[in-house]
Amino acid sequence: MRFLRPRVGAMLRSQPHRRRMLALALAALGLFLASHVQAENSAIRIGAPLPLTGALSPEGLKLQQGYELWKDVVNAAGGINVGGTKRLVEIVYYDYQSATPKAVQLAEKLATDDKVDFMFSPFGSGATKAASTVSERYGIPTIAPTASSAEVYDQGYKNLFGTFTDNSTLSEPMTDIAKAKAPKVQRIAILARNDLYPLALGQEFEKSGKKRGFEIVYFGKYAINTLDHASALTEIKGANPDWIVATGYINDMILIRKQMADLGAKAQVVTMINAPAYQEFIDATGPLAENVTSATWWHPAEHYQSKDAFGSTEHYTELFQNKFKSLPDFTNATGSASGVVLQMAIEKAGSTDRAKVREALAAGGFDTFFGPLSFNAAGQATSYVPPVFQIQRGKAVVIYPDAIKAGDLQLGVQ
């Protein structure tokens, strides 16, 4: 370094050099500023705190896939049409390590440091609720992709819009169908994973069942990471239920289904949420998957024609498969749907002004590949019916709602 200094000094001392250097520096500065200003003009920045490591990382990565697919499709088409000018989308990701306090902290960082225009909520109802305080504080319209519990939306906030309908929209139609199609089914056994959403869902099934005069003969919870369900299933078998409901994630469901067969726990109806929607479940359990019912907010077997960036559910599924070599599930889809809703609201508002976009979001009426999306006064989606389906001959067949159904409820699970 030292041997350079005299030469630079000499250069600066000679007048022509000095001027040229100054001009160069100014030009560089100008270029830098111009590019910076242009970047700020062109890209719409969206903040997305995600659990990319830790216990929730599988779900976090799925959400990110959903966001990325939407971003790629939109940017490939030149960006979002904001009142006639196309602006690209930029998503700022942070990993909150599956820790809720860190998610809130990062939401605050996205709002103040990164100055994002809009936000996507962290994963799950709890973290979404905790972080929604930040969006509300800074008036940032925020799409919640994975918050289904009604309590998330009860704070009177104006900036939170969730794509998932309430948990009861999964349990209500299922109990209706059982009541109508299987009059002999009376006794329900429920086994729920002791975790925010699966447990809440189990409780919804208990409520919906009681409301329709079913008898709840067993309600059990299993801990996260349980590797042996034998004792719970033996109790269930002893309770002699007509209908077994199990909630949890795919690995839990595969294990429970296999152990049910080992122990000879049978029932007329077996409902498992969320796993049977995935091909992995059918592959892993083989003939045991037959006649298992399930419900979810979105399934690739749906056929929505949409006015969004994807055009239809089929086209979305195709694009997803091309990019990630697997079938999209409801977590992937809700990530993409969050982007789609935000995009449609911006285009409708013709501006990225937060107040105008918030108004457009609240007005609703978005036709998406995920289903028609409108939000109630609290901000939760109420506009579509989550499908109920059953595995029949190794395929997921939609049995509800009537508009898209491809089969009827079959009784008897081995």
Partner: protein, 325 residues
Amino acid sequence: MRRALLLGGLAVLALALAALPFMSGNYLVRLATIAFMYVVLASSWNIIGGLAGYPSFASAAFFGLGAYGSAIVRAHAALPLAWCAGALTASLFALLIGPAILRLRGHYFAVASLVLAPVLRELVNGATDLTGGGMGLTLPGSTALSVDATARLYYAVMLAAAVGTVLFTILILSSRLGWALRCIEQNEDASTVLGVNTLTAKVAAFVASAAPAGLAGAIYATWIGYIDPTDVFDDLLSVKPIVMAFLGGVGTIAGPVFGAAIFVALEELVWRNVLNFHAGILGIIIVCLLVFIPGGLGSFRHAAARVRALASKQTNGTARVRSAA
């Protein structure tokens, strides 16, 4: 002279802390609030871990109990009452469990204290009717206050808790209990011979360590507004305060305070610059710090004193010092 300097420094610090929430963005205010929370946890750990020399991993248990205690009371009562309930829950738990596990020493005590948080986590998970189980608990938000005011309120409350914990430690250190604890730290058998009721002193220290940690958990719960068992009984809540105390200097008053501040600052700095491998880098930095300055930052003062002593002796020109050096 030194006293005046210390008082002057404290006055400047107090002014800076008072001005911070009005001068800076809410993100910095949040970071500072988190730092205060860790000051409480590290200082409270210091009472049992530093003064008495008992390697406790119970901070997470106290923190979680405080959080759930306050969350359950908060549904029916005002904020200050909820905070008191949190501190009380943790203290009662320490009072009940202390006499049992404080009879163990060294590694055995460490392991016994380590399992408290997981056991409580499972209990809370199971008691769905009271705690919401794995669904967590949502606390009622304070709708009366503006969002900026809420940020400042929790900044102030957490700061007060941190200052209170430090004063509490000073009080203990200068009391008979403080003497007893330091005797136990030096040699427990010898202190029994001297007439110290070691079990009583240790239980008192355990409870004194639990109350501030429970309070921190209580304030945290009302601040974040949503708690679940994995968040508030997180094992890292036991480990981080210990690392902070070691960074700053175990068994001193100021050590845990500086340790917590440095840890939070380091964590933020590393996280901002190394997005993909931040946890790993932070771990490496901490291991290096602990290996190369095992006495924490406090050891710098001793080192400075030694250098000064050496320098003054050298000016005297004695050959003895030179040969020793």
